[in-house]
């Protein structure tokens, strides 16, 4: 079992797309190390040959009829978006380089 350093937390925040502040890093590193310490207790359980449970209700491949249903009107969906243009979501540029 390992613990979480400030650097680890910064890396994880970057992976999770969270632009955390220095103050948050200080706070979270301490708190998360304590939480991790507590949850690491799962390692004490005798789990040899125990299968994992992903879901309380065992289900596989739930099917429904492939029927055409009306979808939401585009304007209703785009009304909730931070930015829309020409009937589509407008997003900031994706590539670093200028086109």
């Amino acid at each position: 079992m390992s613990t979480l350093s400030r650097k680890d937390v910064a890396h994880l925040a970057r992976l999770a797309r969270l632009a955390v502040t220095d103050e948050e890093l200080d706070l979270f590193a301490g708190q998360l190390a304590a939480v991790l310490d507590a949850v690491a207790q799962v390692g004490k359980a005798p789990t040899e040959d125990v299968p994992p449970t992903t879901h309380a209700v065992p289900m596989t491949n739930v099917m429904r009829p492939d029927a055409v249903r009306p979808s939401l009107p585009p304007e209703a969906v785009l009304a909730g978006a931070p930015a829309a243009e020409d009937g589509r979501f407008r997003v900031p540029r994706i590539l670093q380089e200028e086109a």
Partner: protein, 510 residues
């Protein structure tokens, strides 16, 4: 003529009788809106109230003449995690501030079809992550029993509204205890249904393998009636169980008859029993023991049951839930709904996402996303998330073994009564401990109810009854028996004590 305070103290069958007797939906709705206007600035139970929409809807139901049949004309409040078409829905987060959903959750749609009148959306911990409602990005909610204490969480807006007379009942959601714990701390009945028996379609997802919506009400029968209205198979939720709901209201009525002969009750040692009392308040354990004795006096056979894996439920839960949350909350990327920060031409999409999420999420949400990201990352997955899933199997096995010998399992709902505002908000581990007793049933997906079992230090104590999957009716039967026996001994309903106390202190102040 009934006064508005009489109206807001009524159970649902009483409201139904009043409606049949000539009361109007508009009058009842107005009585609740008046209480909200008078008290909610202090209580903080609602994030959105829609007085005009509620009164319009009330008028439509009055005109239709259906009021008093089924649930038609009964007001209701929904936790703000449930999406409602045309009505702001935030899940307690700034990242969804101002968002108006274009569709209804199945739970909301079923309640609408049943003729209920939506009063508003209730406060909650951000994305249902918390046990005190202090993680709401908007406001704190106070406990009607003591305004300096928390109402529980994450469905604390729903619990405070129903206990405080600001809604006759409400929908909450429970991922690790978020219906049962706030119900216990405010003197309500709260039931977490069998996982998959109430649709999750339109619930803003926190931890998909655990989330479940359910009723929060003033009586066991009210809770059963509300559960019957929302439950049952939904093709829009692929994890929905395609099986009929057990008959719940009838189970509650039968239970209230008080005959529990032949019922086998298991008291879980690991949840407040011998050698496991650390963190439990003596008052809570005393009320619990009295309630167990009461069940015995009604004919139940009580025995102690050991479920060793329950000791690891807290650890497993705080790995599984954050892991699923870190994945579910990836949808809040500033593209399709809600907040977008930094879209000024100088930042690319990745940076805008990170800035949006930084500003839009509160500290507990960030902590859980980071923890979940860690538990799922390569190199740590097996030791944390994978191991937690195996512990989940062990917990389910303990339940199965116990249910081979007993019909229901019981425990306190929470280790303590409502704690003071601010007491645990900076200490995640202490906050998580509030869910100690409710987590095993969540992880195993089995139904569990909390019903009041008295006061300790003047504050409500909850009694938890757990049953096998799809046997929710057992929870209602046993809870109703306990409620009826206690009401008979007390001479009035549990929540009447709150009204009496409020009246007394108001006289004192005057």
């Amino acid at each position: 003529m009934t006064s508005s305070s009489d109206i807001t103290a009524m159970t649902v069958p009483e409201l139904r009788a009043a409606l049949k007797d000539g009361a109007t939906v508009a009058g009842i709705t107005e009585a609740y809106l008046d209480r909200i206007a008078a008290d909610d600035e202090t209580l903080g139970s609602y994030l959105h109230v829609g007085p005009e929409a509620a009164l319009e809807r009330a008028a439509v139901i009055d005109a239709a003449g259906t009021a008093g049949t089924g649930l038609a004309g009964i007001p209701i409040a929904l936790k703000d995690v449930i999406v409602t078409r045309g009505i702001p829905t935030t899940s307690g987060s700034k990242i969804l501030e101002g968002w108006t959903p274009p569709y209804d959750a199945t739970v909301a749609a079923r309640l609408k079809d049943a003729g209920t009148v939506l009063l508003g959306k209730t406060n909650m911990d951000e994305f249902a992550m918390g046990s005190s409602t202090e993680n709401s990005a908007y406001r704190i909610t106070r406990n009607p029993w003591d305004p300096e204490r928390i109402p529980g969480g994450s469905s604390g807006g729903s619990s405070a509204a129903v206990a405080g007379g600001l809604a006759p009942w409400a929908i909450g959601t429970d991922t690790g205890g978020s219906i049962r714990q706030p119900a216990a701390l405010t003197g309500l009945v709260g039931h977490k249904p069998t996982y998959g028996s109430v649709s999750r379609y339109g619930l803003i997802a926190f931890s998909s393998s655990l989330d479940q919506a359910g009723p929060m009400a003033r009586t066991v029968l009210d809770a059963a009636l509300l559960h019957e209205a929302i439950g049952g198979h939904d093709p829009l939720d692929s994890t929905s169980i395609d099986a009929p709901l057990p008959v719940l209201a009838e189970a509650a009525r039968r239970g209230a008859g008080g005959d529990l002969s032949g019922l086998k009750v298991g008291v879980v040692r690991e949840l407040g029993g011998e050698g496991h009392t650390d963190g439990y308040e003596p008052g809570v354990l005393a009320r619990f023991a009295e309630a167990v004795a009461l069940l015995e006096s009604m004919g139940a056979e009580v025995r102690e049951v050991s479920a060793p894996a329950f000791d690891l439920a807290l650890s497993a839960y705080y790995l599984i839930a954050p892991s699923e949350a870190s994945s579910n909350l990836a949808r809040f990327d500033g593209v399709r709904f809600g907040l977008r920060v930094g879209d000024d031409g100088s930042h690319d999409l990745d940076e805008v996402m990170a800035l949006t999420r930084e500003q839009g999420f509160g500290p507990e949400v960030k902590r859980r996303i980071i923890l979940g990201t860690y538990a799922l990352s390569s190199g740590y997955y097996e030791a944390y998330y994978g191991q937690a899933q195996k512990v989940r199997t062990l917990i389910s096995r303990d339940f199965s073994a116990a249910y081979a010998d007993v019909d229901v399992l019981v425990s306190p709902t929470t280790p303590t009564v409502a704690f003071p505002l601010g007491a645990r908000v900076d200490d995640p581990i202490a906050m998580y401990a509030a869910d100690l007793c409710t987590l095993p049933a969540s992880l195993a997906g089995v139904p569990a109810i909390s019903v009041p079992c008295g006061l300790a230090d003047g504050l409500p104590v909850g009694f938890q009854i757990m049953a096998p999957a799809l046997a929710d009716d057992r929870c209602y039967r046993v809870a109703a028996a306990l409620e009826a026996a206690q009401d008979a001994a007390r001479g009035h309903r549990f929540l009447d004590q709150l009204a009496l106390r409020t009246a007394t202190s108001a006289e004192g102040a005057a």
